[in-house]
């Protein structure tokens, strides 16, 4: 156990800000997953690979001499169509089936995407440079990369846009209706097939945005998608399905928790501590649920 963070309290500020900025970015990926899980009842194992593919789109722009930040506009557009196409080719065949079948199908997509990215972009680890600079706080003792601040702002803009779209637009309402009861929505004239395709496309587009942001804040490699899938899965589990504000809070909370456990327990326990937290939350929920049942009886 390392007590450095208590001896140098300014590290707490750094840890909280780093964690929150990281968490917001993860929450954006989790938003897409929650939406698609809620509407289509599909757990997308290929979520991380879609993020990385989005990142490669931004990276390709960077190689062509365009600033990778423009990737947050181009990448979601391309990814929307890729998502839509994937729905028409694969997902629509598994959407009403057993959850296990859809997990297998998306697992297949994930392997295929990894190998295709490896084939097209190569197995090298790559980064895109934003050259956004750094914000110095507290006399340089706390430093925040502007690329991370930019990522958090863009994530908030897209997440807010999504919430408004779901509330105000006609298609957004159709998506919500389908998520509540697909059969009833169909009877009332909602084209559920179109709703599903759009939902999958929106999720892919959000992954595209997140990927473009990751290309300028972290690194890209065809095989690093899985941690993003797992992280977004955890955020959704903790927040609960259909709870979009919960996703943002749970993303940030997990980010901060992760940073603090890194300082206190050591970097090697960073991922482990997040998983332990997940187990504790699930056990606590089950405990609460069982008490509720007893009360009802």
């Amino acid at each position: 156990m390392d007590l450095l963070i208590f001896q140098v309290p300014i590290l707490m500020v750094q840890a909280s800000l780093d964690g929150a900025l990281l968490g917001i970015l993860f929450a954006l990926i989790a938003y897409g997953m929650a939406l698609q899980w809620g509407v289509m009842n599909i757990i997308n194992i290929a979520q991380g690979e879609m993020v990385i593919l989005g990142g490669y789109i931004a990276y390709t722009m960077y190689v062509m001499g365009i600033h990778p930040a423009y990737g947050v506009i181009v990448s979601p557009i391309i990814m929307y169509f890729i998502g839509w196409l994937l729905y028409k080719l694969v997902i629509n065949r598994v959407v009403d089936r057993d959850l296990f079948i859809s997990i297998l199908a998306t697992f297949g997509i994930s392997i295929l995407t990894q190998q295709l990215m490896n084939f097209i972009f190569g197995a090298d680890v790559v980064v895109a440079q934003s050259n956004f600079g750094t914000t110095l706080l507290f006399d340089g003792m706390v430093t925040l990369p502007n690329a991370k601040i930019f990522s958090a702002l863009i994530s908030i803009i897209f997440a807010t846009g999504l919430v408004l779209y779901m509330k105000k637009s006609k298609l957004g309402r159709a998506i919500r209706a389908t998520s509540q009861n697909a059969r009833a929505a169909k009877i009332l004239g909602v084209d559920t097939e179109r709703v599903y395709a759009t939902t999958f496309g929106i999720n892919a587009a959000l992954c595209g945005v997140a990927g473009a942001l990751i290309s300028i804040t972290f690194t890209l490699h065809p095989y690093v998608g899985l941690p993003y899938t797992v992280r977004s899965f955890m955020i959704v589990i903790i927040a609960g399905l259909g709870n979009l504000p919960g996703v943002a809070l749970s993303g940030m909370g997990l980010g901060v928790f992760e940073e603090f456990s890194d300082y206190i327990l050591g970097t090697e326990f960073r991922v482990g501590s997040v998983f332990t937290l997940l187990v504790l939350i699930l056990v606590y929920r089950r405990f609460r649920l069982s008490r509720k049942r007893e009360y009802l009886e």
């Binding site: 590290l11 190569g122 197995a123 090298d124 750094t134 990369p145 690329a147 690194t219 095989y223 050591g266």
Partner: protein, 444 residues
């Protein structure tokens, strides 16, 4: 090719099952008939075994060709480094064959390599080594890319008493298991960054230093870490941060914030290409000042190209650099190898390609010294290797580790926006003076 293996083994399995069924049925009719079938089966088995034995004898040296076997990654996460490995092997085979090949018993032989794609997967690599040895009859092996895959193949070659010269497995654990048929032309992982600690102590007026380090949790990086721990003990230096980075993590912000708060004299990072790129990205973004930064995989990650001036002054460990003055009659010196390789494959050779080419030079010399194709004799000749190649001196310890070649340290240096690697240690080959301490970010 791979599917044939599965097809044949399942074929043997089903025919075997049929034979057993037949035996079961015949059991009811009496012993005589059963004995006949048993004899027939025995003769057939012996015939197959004899046929396999002749195929094996033919395959190791066929006509005037010596076949070497290698499982190297064409797909998966090691595919780029697998390509460097293959290109290094191929260039050396081409050069040796052009220059008269290998002379054994007064006759000239050419090298040929049988390759399989190990898919960057250790299970697959071990399977393919079995296949190369048992089915293709390969008697002499070349190593795959990475410590992990070499560790998977070594037990197979050892069990079959097949000598393997490997060029891309540096993990120390390869040399502690008592392997007799494994020979590595490269320096072991624990030697990678020891020199950096010695340098830091030297620059500190011979006094011990404070070390911060972050290593990925894989066999190779942890071996590099062990080297640092030993160097720290040797010099009386103190390790103040010792972080183990999870494999899936590409965020080092917490480690770097701790570095800023504790002000060590040297920061050591090793976590393959991802670790090197993440470290430079976050050190430059978080404006973390350290007097010395030592890393691995700067070459493989194209650090100077990808991060440009941000990577300036980083110290990097490398097995080889083109500016070293070693030479041999096949490739000349490092610069000549660099230009020949670039002409052939269209890119400058990273050290992975150079060490792979050196493995073939070792094989050639061993065959000629053994003057035989007997694996035992060739193995003994390999063990006595003591030679110079363009890549460096090669002499094996009893464990098969190359003990004649030191690691080199280079420092990324930039002129304008053009950055390149300049050798700074050992001083014998230094092409530039070490810049120490690294200028502060506020002055850069």
């Amino acid at each position: 090719m791979v599917s044939t293996g599965y097809c044949c083994s399942s074929g043997i399995g089903s025919s075997g099952k049929r034979a057993i069924d037949k035996l079961k049925i015949n059991h009811d009719y009496g012993g005589g008939k059963m004995l006949k079938i048993f004899r027939k089966t025995l003769v057939a088995t012996l015939a197959v075994v004899a046929l396999m034995a002749t195929t094996v004898a033919q395959a190791r040296v066929d006509g005037n060709t010596i076949t070497l076997g290698a499982a190297v990654s064409e797909t998966g996460k090691y595919s780029t480094n697998g390509k460097h490995t293959r290109n290094g092997y191929n260039l050396a085979v081409k050069r040796i064959n052009e220059m008269g090949g290998v002379t054994v018993g007064g006759k000239s032989y050419k090298f040929k390599i049988t390759y399989y794609d190990d898919e960057s997967n250790s299970g697959r690599a071990a399977q393919l080594a079995e296949r190369l040895i048992k089915q293709d009859g390969v008697k002499y092996m070349l190593g795959p890319y990475s410590s992990g895959l070499t560790k998977a193949i070594a037990p197979v070659t050892e069990e079959n008493k097949i000598p393997m010269v490997e060029a891309n497995g540096a993990s120390r654990s390869l040399f502690t298991k008592g392997y007799k048929y494994l020979f590595a032309v490269l320096s072991a992982a624990n030697q990678y960054l020891e020199v950096a600690i010695d340098l830091a102590v030297e620059k500190n007026g011979g006094k011990p230093v404070k070390i911060a380090m972050a290593f990925e949790q894989d066999a190779f990086s942890q071996d590099v870490r062990l080297g640092i721990v030993e160097a720290a003990e040797r010099t009386g230096s103190k390790i103040i941060i010792d972080d183990k980075l999870p494999k899936e993590l590409n965020d080092m912000a917490a480690t770097l914030a701790k570095v800023r708060a504790t002000r060590p004299d040297v920061l050591v990072v090793s976590g393959h290409s991802k670790g090197a790129l993440t470290a430079i990205r976050q050190i430059s973004e978080m404006k973390v000042d350290v007097p010395m930064l030592a890393m691995t995989h700067c070459d493989a990650s194209k650090l100077a190209k990808q991060h440009g001036k941000k990577s300036e002054y980083a110290l990097c460990a490398a097995q080889w650099h083109k500016s070293l003055s070693y030479s041999d009659r096949f490739f000349g010196d490092g610069k000549k190898f660099d230009s020949d390789f670039t002409n052939e494959y269209g890119y400058a050779p990273p050290y992975q390609a150079a060490e792979s080419a050196a493995a073939l030079l070792v094989w050639k010399a061993a065959f000629e010294r053994a003057n035989s194709f007997d694996t035992k004799k060739v193995r003994d000749a390999l063990a006595l290797t003591d030679m110079q190649t363009f890549y460096g001196n090669i002499k094996f310890s009893n464990a098969g580790q190359n003990i004649a070649k030191p690691m080199v340290l280079f420092q990324v240096r930039c002129e304008g926006n053009k950055c390149e690697n300049k050798v700074v240690a050992p001083t014998k080959w230094a092409s530039a003076e070490l810049v120490h301490p690294i200028p502060k970010w506020s002055d850069r």
